[in-house]
């Protein structure tokens, strides 16, 4: 599979204190590393799932691909073209290749525009106003299974699921090759969640697009992604084919996450790895492997050195000094 998107050694840092306040508080390093050396790639037509708890940097990673956040280091290549440092005019043209969906279904639609004009936006932005925009809007509504009357409605008049469909339609308006979906099922009931995922799956099969799904919902990842990565504290701790990771995780954190997802069966035997403590604050980054304060297997090595990548077969890799025993 040819990679459509290739990210290597990406770093995104945010300033937390102004230079003045850092000086007065005696802070040496007034930055936090939200994304800390992430490398991953997404093939054509592939669905990649990025999983992590809050503060793991998954949303920042998505935003840096979309050019909303400026990375400090590393590279993001789309179909071989480097995106970091791309001139603004070229960047604008690039954006028509990538569709984006944000967390809040209703909140990511401009509140004072009708659905019709929201769907016309992408064409107007990219200077395609000469098309029949009304026709495009109905085409898109048909595509995501919404009635044509929706054109004249406003976002707050829609239910979460309907607004999400509009979001999908907007993301697909310019026939992108890649869709970045940040928590596409957030705020939706279980009975509606499936509709949106099925819609995405159907469109992917028809249009051959690649999808990057960002979520904390492992069940979603299990069903819809081909490959997945697990983020913790700005790093990818483990990545590989979804089935392989679910079948046999290598990193203790992966196992903890998998087992923190109780099976809806009262008689299920759960062989659980329960973590203690909480995700440390980004301001107090633990030394060595960031996971060591919560890891049941950590030792002195873990406190001092961050583990290198270990490659398994089948493009499955992880970063851990004490990986789980493979059966």
């Amino acid at each position: 599979m040819k990679p459509l998107l290739e990210i290597s050694d990406l770093h995104v840092r945010f300033r937390t204190h102004s230079p003045l306040s850092a000086m007065m508080n005696g802070i040496q390093d007034p930055f936090v590393d939200a994304v800390n050396g992430v490398s991953l790639h997404i093939g054509e037509g592939e669905t990649y799932g990025l999983v992590g708890e809050s503060g793991s940097g998954k949303t920042t990673l998505a935003r840096s691909i979309l050019g909303l956040v400026q990375p400090q280091q590393g590279s993001i290549r789309y179909a071989g073209t480097e995106l970091i440092g791309m001139p603004a005019a070229q960047m604008k043209r690039f954006r028509s290749n990538v569709g984006a969906m944000f967390q809040d279904p209703v909140g990511s639609l401009s509140p004072r525009m009708t659905i019709g004009s929201l769907l016309a936006e992408p064409f107007k932005i990219h200077g395609l106003s000469d098309r029949d925009l009304g026709h495009e809007a109905t085409r898109l509504l048909d595509m995501v299974g919404l009635n044509r009357d929706f054109s004249s409605r406003y976002p707050h008049q829609l239910s979460g699921g309907q607004a999400r469909r509009v979001g999908v339609a907007r993301a697909l308006a310019l026939n992108p090759k890649l869709i970045i979906a940040d928590e596409p099922t957030a705020g939706l009931d279980v009975s509606v969640q499936g509709e949106i995922l099925n819609l995405l799956g159907k469109l992917q099969a028809e249009l051959g697009i690649s999808i990057l799904v960002i979520t904390h919902n492992l069940n979603v990842v299990r069903h819809i992604t081909d490959r997945m990565g697990i983020m913790y504290f700005g790093r990818v701790l483990e990545q590989g084919p979804t089935s392989a990771i679910f079948h046999q995780p290598s990193h203790p954190y992966t196992l903890a996450l998998l087992s923190a997802n109780p099976e809806p069966d009262p008689d299920a035997e759960i062989d659980r790895l329960e973590l203690h403590g909480e995700v440390p604050s980004l301001f107090n980054r633990p030394g060595g492997c960031e996971f060591h304060p919560r890891c049941p297997f950590s030792d002195d090595t873990c406190k001092s050195a961050f583990p290198d990548i270990t490659e398994l077969d089948n493009a499955h890799s992880f970063r851990c000094h004490h990986p789980l025993q493979r059966a």
């Binding site: 009931d189 009975s191 069903h223 109780p262 759960i270 973590l275 995700v279």
Partner: protein
């Protein structure tokens, strides 16, 4: 110990009267954990607020009773209800970030809720410290001086649980207490809650939309839909022998229950009917694939077809067998 029967609650709004709860029956046996499952708009919050007597201004209880420890809460004055809240019935709310007063220290808030106890400040403080360590707050003695914003979300939820259990209530109502938390924290808190429940012997009414958590924690489950309790039973009844078509569908929808990887996830098409203009028959008829003529004409009655297992469906008994 808690028994709600035929509870009807309505909201008066500009659009008309919302019939938020209709003939709700619910029972929490002593020492058990009862889970309430339902999607948004099913009436979970309204039910809790009716129990603790904190309904919104535009809401009114039309009929029904809420019996707690032998007396009807709906007949009690605000004053009597206040005496029950925080002593016999406690609550843990969904959003730990806003559930505590931001300008009072944790210690002050924990002391305040012990205002009824005729003991000295030092003893109250000791009790707070003990409670905080029971829920797993490290270094409780110094943390007592801290303000809510100095704690993480998980820690705040632990504090909220500590406060709720401090008076050793007979009933704890937990309204989606782990929804706002990360998965690894959720597991920690669920386990802590279960341990505390067993050592204190209280009952818990646990509201959640996370089926996995319900299955793991609860003894009995109540399924709500559109302001009605559509099914209740033991946790095994509900997960292994669901009787109401909605319950069956809801369980089918949960991707966690689908073992084989699939790109075609099941859904429940349609939406909850408008609670101002109710359909004449069953509330679920529009979305139900087993809907028959009688479903559109008559509201089904709650029928018990196995011990502890009720459903509100015209087909209830026959469905469970098939």
């Amino acid at each position: 110990m808690l028994e709600i029967s035929r509870l009807n609650v309505e909201f008066t709004t500009e659009r008309g009267v919302i019939k938020a709860l209709r003939d709700v029956d619910l029972e929490v046996p002593r020492g058990s954990i009862v889970g309430v499952v339902g999607e948004s708009g099913c009436g979970k919050s309204t039910m809790i607020n009716s129990i603790i007597g904190l309904l919104a201004h535009n809401a009114a209880v039309r009929s029904g009773s809420i019996t707690f420890e032998g007396s009807d809460l709906l007949q009690k004055s605000q004053r009597e209800l206040r005496d029950i809240r925080g002593t016999r019935i406690s609550m843990v709310f969904q959003d730990p970030m806003t559930a505590l007063n931001p300008v009072l220290s944790i210690g002050a808030q924990m002391t305040d809720i012990q205002y009824r106890d005729p003991i000295g400040m030092a003893q109250k403080k000791q009790r707070s410290i003990r409670m905080l360590s029971r829920v797993g707050i490290p270094d409780p003695e110094t943390r007592l001086e801290n303000y809510p914003h100095q704690f993480s979300g998980g820690m705040r939820q632990r504090i909220a649980i500590a406060m709720a259990l401090q008076a050793e209530p007979a009933l704890l109502i937990a309204d989606e207490p782990t929804t706002a938390l990360d998965a690894t924290l959720e597991v920690q808190i669920i386990h802590r809650l279960k341990d505390l429940q067993q050592s204190m012997g209280c009952s818990i009414l646990f509201i959640s939309h996370h089926l996995g958590v319900i299955a793991e924690l609860c003894d009995f489950v109540v399924v709500m839909y559109g302001g009605e309790v559509v099914e209740r039973g033991t946790v095994r009844d509900i997960f292994h022998r669901p009787a109401h078509p909605y319950t069956i569908k809801l369980l089918e929808c949960d991707p966690a229950r689908i073992a084989e990887t699939t790109r075609a996830l099941p859904t429940i098409p349609g939406e909850i009917p408008d609670l101002v203009n109710l359909p004449p028959g069953c509330i679920f008829a529009d979305r139900c694939d087993r809907c028959i003529k009688v479903c559109r004409e008559q509201i089904p009655q709650t029928t018990e077809f196995a011990e502890h297992h009720w459903a509100r469906c015209h087909l209830a008994g026959s469905m469970a067998e098939t």
